[in-house]
């Protein structure tokens, strides 16, 4: 049986002094996947603003912080579990665990402590419904997606994408205390966006995923079938973009922006679908991947702009 002293007991595999906790602050920060966290914070902020009802500004701030930390915690748990495949992929080989800056056990405890802390704090600051939702999201990302789906099915990111789509719903629940149908429209926008976004990445990182043995769609069904799927999913995403208007969350400013942004998304997806060979065939997925990041920020930004426009109009009228 191991105990805490095992951490400082030198073994054959740890010839040098290894206490853990030796990483730089930046390494622990990197465990939280700050770039993913920025998207989570932004979409969650939109959920807070768009939800009906009032929330104290301080409670809103703490809620956002807890959702961000919860997302970061699942990132740390993901890096702990995926350290073996991260080491084999160029995109992830510089992460703190494969680089040797942080030990796997540290990342696990770091993730667990932050998970529990963020859930408890959210429960105390906002409400326990939102806290339960956050706990479920962390579980979904770390266990359902990372430990189960990612290595077992090419549909991994289709189902696993739900974890990244929950934050605006959690934020909504922080305000209302319930899970409303209208908030599902925010979820669906991210959920439907995830497959074309990740499959575009997987198309130009096929070699990486092949080396690591991760069954991403292009590695399982081939690049051609993936380009087809990107096209059909992008088309399916279009009506979903209209849902916030149908549910009364947003109005004309968002409607116009969403129409333009989604039209451009479909145009990028069409390029991926139509041009499969040569320079254009290579460039298409990269362009779609880059645009898809901008798209999600812009769509949620448009909802905020729409809400600001309505407030300004009401103040003026």
């Amino acid at each position: 049986m191991s105990d805490a002293s095992d951490m400082i007991r030198p073994t054959a595999s740890t010839p040098s002094l290894s206490l853990g906790g030796q990483g730089a602050v930046e390494d622990y920060w990197a465990l939280l996947k700050p770039r993913v966290m920025s998207l989570v914070i932004f979409t969650a902020f939109c959920g807070l603003v768009l939800a009906p009802g009032h929330i104290h500004p301080w409670t809103a701030f703490v809620s956002l912080l807890c959702i961000a930390v919860g997302a970061g915690a699942s990132g740390a748990l993901n890096m702990w579990y995926d350290a073996d495949i991260d080491a084999q992929m160029t995109r992830t080989s510089k992460r703190p665990i494969p680089r040797g800056a942080i030990e796997p056990g540290e990342a696990l405890y770091f993730g667990l402590v932050l998970s529990v802390g963020s859930v408890v704090m959210l429960g105390l600051a906002a409400n326990w419904m939102a806290a339960a939702f956050l706990a479920f999201t962390i579980f979904f990302y770390a266990v359902i997606y990372t430990a189960w789906l990612k290595r077992s099915t090419p549909q991994n990111i289709v189902i696993g994408g739900a974890a990244g789509a929950f934050p605006p719903m959690i934020a909504w629940t922080c305000v209302t205390g319930s899970v409303d149908l209208a908030s599902v429209s925010l979820f669906l926008i991210i959920f439907m966006w995830t497959p074309p976004h990740f499959w575009a990445l997987a198309l130009f990182k096929m070699g990486d995923y092949e080396t690591a043995g991760v069954p991403m769609l292009p590695n399982v069904v081939g690049a051609d079938a993936t380009r087809d799927q990107i096209w059909w999913y992008s088309l399916a995403m279009a009506p979903v973009a209209a849902l916030p208007v149908l549910f009364g969350i947003s109005s004309v400013v968002y409607a116009v922006a969403a129409a333009v942004l989604t039209g451009l998304f479909i145009r990028h997806a069409w390029t991926v679908y139509r041009h499969r060979e040569g320079k254009q065939g290579e460039r298409g997925p990269k362009a779609l991947f880059g645009y898809s990041i901008l798209y999600l920020f812009a769509m949620f930004g448009a909802m905020l702009a729409d809400r600001a426009a309505i407030a300004a109009w009401q103040a003026f009228a």
Binding site: L17, Q22, A24, V25, W58, V62, M121, A125
Partner: protein, 51 residues
């Protein structure tokens, strides 16, 4: 290597600098957490007394 060896281990300059930054970060996080819990309690209590 015994626990005593570890206790007398002299960190390199780089390790000492990293340790210092970690300690400052932990101190700031703890202070932030204290402030977070304190203000949250005041806000929640304020809401209840308001009712």
């Amino acid at each position: 290597m015994s626990v005593q060896d570890i206790e007398t281990y002299e960190p390199t300059r780089e390790e000492a600098a990293r340790r210092r930054k970690r300690s400052i970060a932990i101190a700031l996080i703890l202070l932030g957490l204290m402030a977070l819990v304190f203000v949250t309690t005041i806000v929640r209590l304020g809401g209840m007394t308001g009712n």
